[in-house]
């Protein structure tokens, strides 16, 4: 990095550089700078749901279990566990000698603190996903027992996910926890977070890896990880080219050129578990009517849109859960899917009183990044052809989550109901329970029938039975046009990496790992 700068600056400028960077908090030789399109929403794993937040929690915290290269949950902070015969009680044996960033030993009390906190007065946003937890008991310093009210097939995988990050007890009663402080057991300690600008993390020398699929199980091999927010894709590219950033998502349309030039490595995340889908404000017209929802589905052609924007590198997704996730079956889902059929869309619209003289006006929410705004513009043009006038609002994911829920909770709002291109990444079909079991993550569509079907997917532990239950839910969601799959982004998560960085990898379900990263310059 330094030699790179020298090349571009005269000696006078260099002296000035030294002076000014000191004031602004300089990047150091042992720093790895990771530029991303957006910032975290919170340092508290119970207070945000965005992938961008999750990817930073991964660096600060650790989880009881971890995903291996194939996405199976394997021992991590919990070195082993026992499940009672009735499937309701899980006893976890913890690794000895794990130390929290403040120097306190990590043990059963920390696990209990984390779980209790997730169900506390200000519960975790993903509380539902923890499952029907009844009690958490500390058996001894390194043994903890979690008891469930009913069997829960997706419990163990959840404990490998970042939403179950283990928060150390020392954070208790710290009013700044989540905004200015965060104590975990992960590979990095938090130095500071300047909102909208950067999160500065420094190496945790006590870190040990137990379950993550990396080669280096000790502390990371560089000093600091600086996670910087640069929303503009071209600015990120410029930052990469000039050495201001080491790892960044490049602009999609430049990827072929970057590959051709060969200066930067391209790392594509695989098995992201992400599913991009339509969902609707069902509490008021027009989308309280199933035909309006079906009209949108028939009027849009995701195949063409992803082909234009991602050059065919993302896949059409018929299911409400991503490829690689239990229960995903394209042939099964397609039977209930909505083929591109503008005429059918017009018919449906005519049935509910919309037509050329009375267009359906509505708003589509899209979240920032990943060229989704371009997809939205194509969908907007497609919808216009059947007489649906859409205005697009591009929001960051946190704001969009808020807005969607606010829409569903405003049945008396005189303006037309909205719909949105939502994205969720999950390792298990249990995401459907979180989204659609009443009251629902967005206070959206719910029904007693759907609730019963969803409950079944949790209680059944036999694989074949569960598959049937899951597909029953999928069929229901699609027939009622509640959750309409569009595509599985793989290509949306692309990282360009400077040559002096070696060993950067992105695990399944979008967990970036820095344990093997080495700075070779």
């Amino acid at each position: 990095m330094i030699p790179d700068r020298l090349r571009h600056t005269g000696p006078g400028a260099l002296a000035l550089t030294g002076f000014l960077t000191m004031a602004a908090g300089p990047a150091l030789a042992g720093d790895v700078i990771w530029a991303r399109y957006g910032d975290i929403d919170s340092l508290d794993p119970h207070r945000a749901t965005s992938t961008l937040s999750m990817q930073v929690w991964d660096q600060i915290y650790d989880t009881l279990l971890a995903f291996d290269e194939d996405g199976a949950a394997v021992p991590n902070l919990a070195k082993s566990w026992e499940v009672s015969d009735d499937g309701l009680s899980y006893t976890f044996m913890l690794q000895d000698g794990v130390i929290c960033h403040d120097g306190t030993p990590f043990g059963a009390e920390d696990v209990k603190f984390t779980v209790d906190r997730a169900f506390g007065d200000n519960p975790s946003l993903t509380m539902t996903n923890w499952g029907p937890i009844e009690t958490v008991e500390v058996i001894d310093d390194l043994t903890v027992r979690i008891t469930l009210e009913s069997t829960f097939g997706a419990f163990l995988p959840f404990l490998a996910d970042s939403f179950s990050s283990m928060v150390c007890l020392s954070n208790d009663d710290d009013p700044d926890f989540g905004s200015a402080t965060a104590i975990g057991t992960g590979p990095f300690k938090l130095d500071n977070w300047v909102q909208g600008d950067e999160v500065v993390l420094s190496r945790n020398d006590d870190y040990r890896n137990f379950g993550k699929p990396v080669e280096n199980d000790g502390p990371v091999q560089f000093d600091r990880l600086i996670v910087r927010t640069i929303p503009e894709a071209q600015t990120r590219l410029a930052a990469l080219r000039t050495g201001e950033a080491h790892i960044a998502e490049p602009p999609f349309d430049d990827i072929p050129d970057i590959r051709a030039e060969g200066d930067l490595d391209i790392v594509v995340a695989e098995k992201t578990g992400q599913n991009v889908f339509w969902q609707f404000t069902i509490s008021r017209p027009p989308f309280d009517d199933i035909r309006a929802r079906q009209a949108v589905a028939h009027a849009t052609d995701p195949e063409m849109a992803i082909d234009i924007i991602y050059g065919g590198l993302s896949e059409r997704e018929w299911c409400p859960i991503a490829r690689g996730v239990f229960g995903n079956d394209q042939d099964f889902c397609q039977q209930y899917g909505y083929e591109y059929d503008p005429d059918r869309a017009r018919e449906l619209l005519a049935e509910i009183g919309f037509g050329p003289d009375n267009p359906l006006n509505t708003t589509m929410y899209v979240w920032t990044g990943g060229n989704r705004h371009m997809l939205a513009e194509i969908f907007q043009a497609q919808l216009a052809q059947v007489g649906i006038n859409v205005s697009i609002e591009i929001l960051d994911i946190g704001t969009m989550n808020a807005r969607v829920r606010e829409q569903n909770e405003s049945p008396d709002d005189p303006s037309p109901g909205t719909f949105d291109m939502m994205t969720w990444g999950w390792y298990d079909p249990d995401i459907l329970y979180a989204l659609w079991h009443s009251p629902g993550a967005y206070s959206g569509y719910t029904s007693d029938e759907l609730d019963a079907k969803l409950e079944l997917t949790r209680e059944l532990t036999d694989e074949d039975e569960r598959l049937e239950a899951v597909q029953d839910v999928i069929r229901y969601l699609m027939e009622n046009a509640v959750h309409i799959g569009l595509y599985t982004p793989g290509w949306e998560w692309v990282f360009a990496v400077r040559p002096e960085i070696e060993g950067f990898k992105v695990g399944v379900f979008l967990h970036p790992m820095f344990q093997d990263v080495r700075l070779t310059d």
């Binding site: 894709a233 071209q234 349309d253 234009i308 924007i309 705004h373 371009m374 907007q380």
Partner: protein, 291 residues
């Protein structure tokens, strides 16, 4: 304007002569030509644009400028030239509506404050001064925070943000006019408030406001383009120039033409109104011509 206003004192030049003078001023003439071309583009857009500005895949996507697409195509294969031609409609609308809002409100405030004098004047002008010192962009941001994003809201925000400026200008002219003999004699002759304001003050304020308003169109166009560039103004698929620039940002290396042409369009338009404003000033204020 009523016919009576033409008889008002200190009227600079008759309109026909003013236009003739405008053509004698080289910058005014250039400005007038640019603005005229813009107006023609806006009116005749459907006839002169080679493609529909909203239709995707009018050509291959991200095609460099060619005979078929003089300014290339964008990420959806839309014709950039056609979008720029249609964009002139939005630009003219933004300019006139934003200036309309700030000019009328500023004129009213300035007239009332200047005419009323005393406490009314002090309080009004104090508020105007304070708002003025907030700077226009911050007032515009505050308005958008309240109203929400969108082109119409951006126009309103820009209109409101410039009110203090127009109020100040009006106020200062009124103060000068109030001390002139013709006004004092009109007051002495017992003219009504309405007559004093509308027959005596207003006609003398208007020439300067025409200059300021013409220059103001360029400021408003720039400001609206800026807000759209930040994503606070125009929304897709509107072919607004600032928004086009904003969507070109992800593609600068791959498709620089998407960035160059909308920027040129904004710059030329703003230049046109600036030159026209300068020209009108020269016509209305002959002393400046010596410079």
């Amino acid at each position: 304007m009523t016919t009576e206003t033409i008889e008002a004192p200190a009227r600079p030049e008759r309109p026909q002569r003013a236009y003739a003078a405008l053509f004698r001023s080289p910058s005014g003439a250039v400005g007038l030509v640019i603005v005229a071309v813009l107006v023609v583009c806006a009116i005749l857009a459907p006839y002169i644009a080679p493609h529909d500005p909203l239709v995707m895949a009018a050509g291959p996507r991200l095609e460099p400028p060619s005979l078929a697409h003089w300014m290339g195509t964008d990420q959806f294969g839309r014709d950039v030239l056609s979008r720029i031609i249609y964009g002139s409609r939005l630009t003219l609308m933004i300019g006139t509506i934003a200036v309309g809002i700030s000019l009328s409100a500023g004129l009213l405030l300035g007239l009332v404050a200047g005419y009323a004098s005393g406490w009314t004047e002090r309080v009004l002008m104090r508020i105007v001064d304070v708002l003025f010192s907030f700077t226009e962009i911050v007032i515009a941001l505050a308005c958008i925070a309240i109203l929400g994003v969108g082109l119409v809201n951006a126009m309103i925000a820009i209109g409101i943000a410039s009110i203090p400026f127009y109020a100040r200008v009006t106020h200062s002219i009124v103060l000068v006019e109030k001390n002139k003999p013709y006004f004092e004699s009109a007051v002495a002759a017992g003219a009504s408030h309405a007559r004093l304001i509308f027959l005596h003050l207003l006609p003398n304020v208007i020439p300067t406001l025409i200059v300021i308003g013409t220059l103001g169109v360029s400021t408003a166009v720039l400001a609206a383009a800026g807000l759209s560039f930040l994503g606070l103004g125009a929304q897709p698929p509107q072919p607004e120039w600032g928004f086009m620039l904003s969507s070109s940002r992800d593609l600068i290396s791959r498709a620089p033409w998407m960035m160059i042409f909308p920027g040129l369009a904004i710059a030329i338009t703003v230049l046109g109104f600036n030159l026209l404003g300068d020209g009108v000033r020269e016509v209305l204020d002959p002393r400046q011509r010596a410079r």
